[in-house]
Amino acid sequence: MAITKSGIYIQPFKDLMIQTSYTGGNLDFTLDTYKISLWDNTMADGSGLMDFSSTSPAWANTNEVAGTGWSTGGVLLSAAASGSSSTSPTLAEGTTGSIRYDMGDISVASTTLSTGGGPYGCFIYADPVSSPIAKPILVAVNFLAAYPTNNGTFGITWSGTGVFEIDLTP
């Protein structure tokens, strides 16, 4: 069964709020040294990397989609925008009363991404971090279908309301 939903990983978010010390740098959603990687449609909700409740959501290359122009492990956010420039992630109030994680659009040229049928979703994860969670995954975004490229540009246009938004004010 394919993944059916997007989500934010609970443990890294909890660690952020209680200032858990991480080797490789404490969690900071605004860093562009984090990476975006792609997965195919064979992962299932609640299992392995798609378990948002995991206390150790460490990134792994399970069912990863990589290929020409897109390395195994993904692309640094500092080089994932058009012209290999930074996506410049931000964390700020978006919709009134909500925290918004946003960044510039993804645009990586000259890719061939077809393994496993092509990209079905993406992870954003803290690549430099090694402990207590190695490369913790912060957020997973489901594309709802597979989108392979061939010698072409792989792009994601984020919504005007960001990658994710958390409403804190009912």
């Binding site: 489901n142 279908a145 490229t149 010698n151 792009g155 994601i156 919504s159 990658v163 994710f164």
Partner: protein
């Protein structure tokens, strides 16, 4: 101005999809260099662009919705 029964029927039908899914939107054109291009935007609002080049170039542009966590109403 009062709406006629036909107008009201039209208004009621706004936003209703006859076959359950939105059809793909297709646009075909030629690049300035003469290469044919086919752009298909699907029900997820993602666009696949196929270029009739020797290397069969295919670009994708995905437009995911924001991952949204909403507080409950109290």
């Amino acid at each position: 101005m009062a709406e006629t029964p036909i107008d009201l029927d039209k208004m009621r039908s706004i936003g209703v999809l006859g076959h359950g899914r939105t059809k793909n939107r297709v646009r075909e054109y030629r690049r300035p260099d003469g290469i044919r291009v086919k752009e298909t935007t699907d029900e997820n609002n993602a666009t696949v662009t196929e270029h009739a080049t020797k290397d069969d170039r295919v670009d994708v542009m995905i437009r995911p919705q924001t991952v949204t966590m909403k507080a409950g109403v109290n």
